[in-house]
Amino acid sequence: MEKPLKIQNLTKNYGDFSAVKDVSFDLEDGEIFGLLGPNGAGKTTLISCIVTLEKMTKGSVSVLGSDIYKDAKNAKTKLGYVPQEVINHGYFTVEEILGFYSGYFGILQNKERIKYLLEKLALYEHKDKKVKQLSGGMKRRLMIAKALVHSPKVLLLDEPTAGVDIELRNSLWEFVLELKKLGTTVLLTTHYLEEAESLCDRIGVIHKGELKKIGKTSDLISELTFRTLEVETSKKVELKKTDYLKKQIGNKITLEFPSTLKVGEVISSIGLDLSCVTDLQLKEGSLEDAFLKILDQGRV
């Protein structure tokens, strides 16, 4: 089966500067893939190359088997793209814009789908307004509605929640999860790592144009982060000195160990008698920790 999105050796140079360096990865059918990276890492350039807004220096992109250049019409019909910056559209109303956009994707009669999207994204009562009359959040939602008028198989969201309040962010992510349930494959970029952790099946971390790490979100966290266990005992106890024992102050013990290890193994390894334990607190490693570690490794 063809991959929803296949990126091979994509490179984008601006003169001597390489914004994206030989990046290759695929999206799996129906997944949400998070492309993370600090500002200027090359995320937007990579997405711009995928949608042909930027011409790649080298490499290829295909959407469900259709090459983005050689079979552009078919490839683009399967893609939905939400840019980072809001587009104004001058004289036209929300409903007109969605009508035009449907037509660009070959659908001249699309009233039902437009109505569904307007209702779903809470824009129906604003359908006769021009873009400049909309609030920031509404403009963002309009960008998403535009990208979905043709029910694309693959949706690219370039920081769709930048500058958006938490309530709207949550509703947008809920909508993205709904799209996933309907079979849409999503590639998104965001700086909200907690949200990416709960939302994305897989993560790719890009830094200085290079894809540094890619994998399942849970695997990356397990591989790259530590779990912290804070134990309170009824009295001061003697413990075996291991790498996991970070500190012991009075009857408070702090243990730090790789996410791949189980709590029981660690407790056994330091010889802690469970009958002395009065309280336990386990803190899991987060995507943010994993992300920072990847960036740190890149600096070495």
Binding site: V51, T52, L53, E54, A72, K73, N74, K76, T77, L79, Y81, P83, E85, V86, I87, N88, H89, G90, Y91, F92, E96, F100, Y101, S102, G103, Y104, F105, G106, I107, L108, Q109, K146, H150
Partner: protein
């Protein structure tokens, strides 16, 4: 022939962009159609009715008829040019030019849809100008100005507008700022139009300036329309047809080449 109810990525994107270009200028009718009509009326009033009696073009027709034919083509070319150029410039500014790159529209479809949108505006404004001119002519002479050849008129209006629509796209894609766009209009296109024989005939110029004027391509486009309406013009019909055709091909290749290398990114 067309089934509009089904998705069709071959022709429907083109139809929609063409329709959007028309809707865009119809949304601001006062600016795009009414204002040019008022401008033409003022030119006719000042030059045609007021000063016209003292101008001898060497043609067999009244100066008002001479002026009407020039104004028709000037308004056609200006509006076709402005439609495509303003669409692209505003698209660069607002960002909606990017949309055209990420949707299934080929470069040729973008060129033809936008240019045909420009042609509809150019032809519409020229017909409004003709209507205003006919009113002035009727008020002045008690009869309407007879059109010598409608097919020739339609030929020159359509292909003249198409050439200028392509030129407008070309200039707008190259422009990096509003200033650059205005400079091309103010320093190149307007002088060419005004010196292209809208208001005067080659017969009114000295031999030296007559030769210089022959290098102005707009003279041939205007003369083509003038011949179509009056049955006579400063240059031959054949040369008008050749210059119109060459302009069309040249501007098409220029915009096609530019589009293949241009960024659709916003300013």
């Amino acid at each position: 022939m067309f089934d509009f109810s089904k998705q069709n990525i071959s022709s429907h994107p083109f139809i929609m962009l063409f329709w959007k270009e028309i809707r865009r200028y119809l949304k601001v009718m006062v600016q795009t159609v009414v204002t040019p009509a008022i401008n033409s009326a003022l030119y006719l009033l000042i030059f045609g009715v007021s000063l016209g009696n003292s101008i001898d073009t060497g043609f067999d027709t009244p100066y008002l008829a001479f002026l009407i034919s020039g104004l028709i083509m000037m308004s056609c070319l200006n509006n076709a040019f402005q439609n495509t150029s303003s669409s692209i410039i505003s698209g660069k500014f607002s960002g909606d030019l990017e949309d055209l790159k990420v949707v299934p529209l080929s470069s040729q479809q973008i060129i033809w849809a936008m240019c045909l949108g420009g042609v509809t505006r150019g032809v519409m404004v020229s017909l409004v100008t003709m209507l205003v001119g006919q009113i002035f002519y009727h008020v002045t002479f008690g009869e309407f100005l007879e059109i010598h050849s409608w097919p020739a008129l339609m030929f020159f209006l359509f292909f003249g507008a198409l050439s200028y629509a392509k030129l407008g796209m070309f200039v707008a894609f190259l422009a990096k700022t509003f200033d650059q766009m205005s400079a091309v209009t103010a320093f190149i296109l307007q002088p060419l139009a005004f010196l292209g024989g809208v208001f005067f005939s080659l017969n009114n110029l000295s031999p030296f300036w007559q030769k210089v004027a022959l290098f102005n391509p707009v003279l041939y486009l205007i003369s083509g329309v003038r011949y179509s309406i009056l049955g006579q013009s400063d240059v031959s019909l054949t040369s008008s047809v050749i210059v119109t055709s060459v302009s069309l091909v040249l501007f098409h290749f220029l915009i096609a080449f530019t589009l293949s290398r241009s960024q659709f990114k916003r300013w």
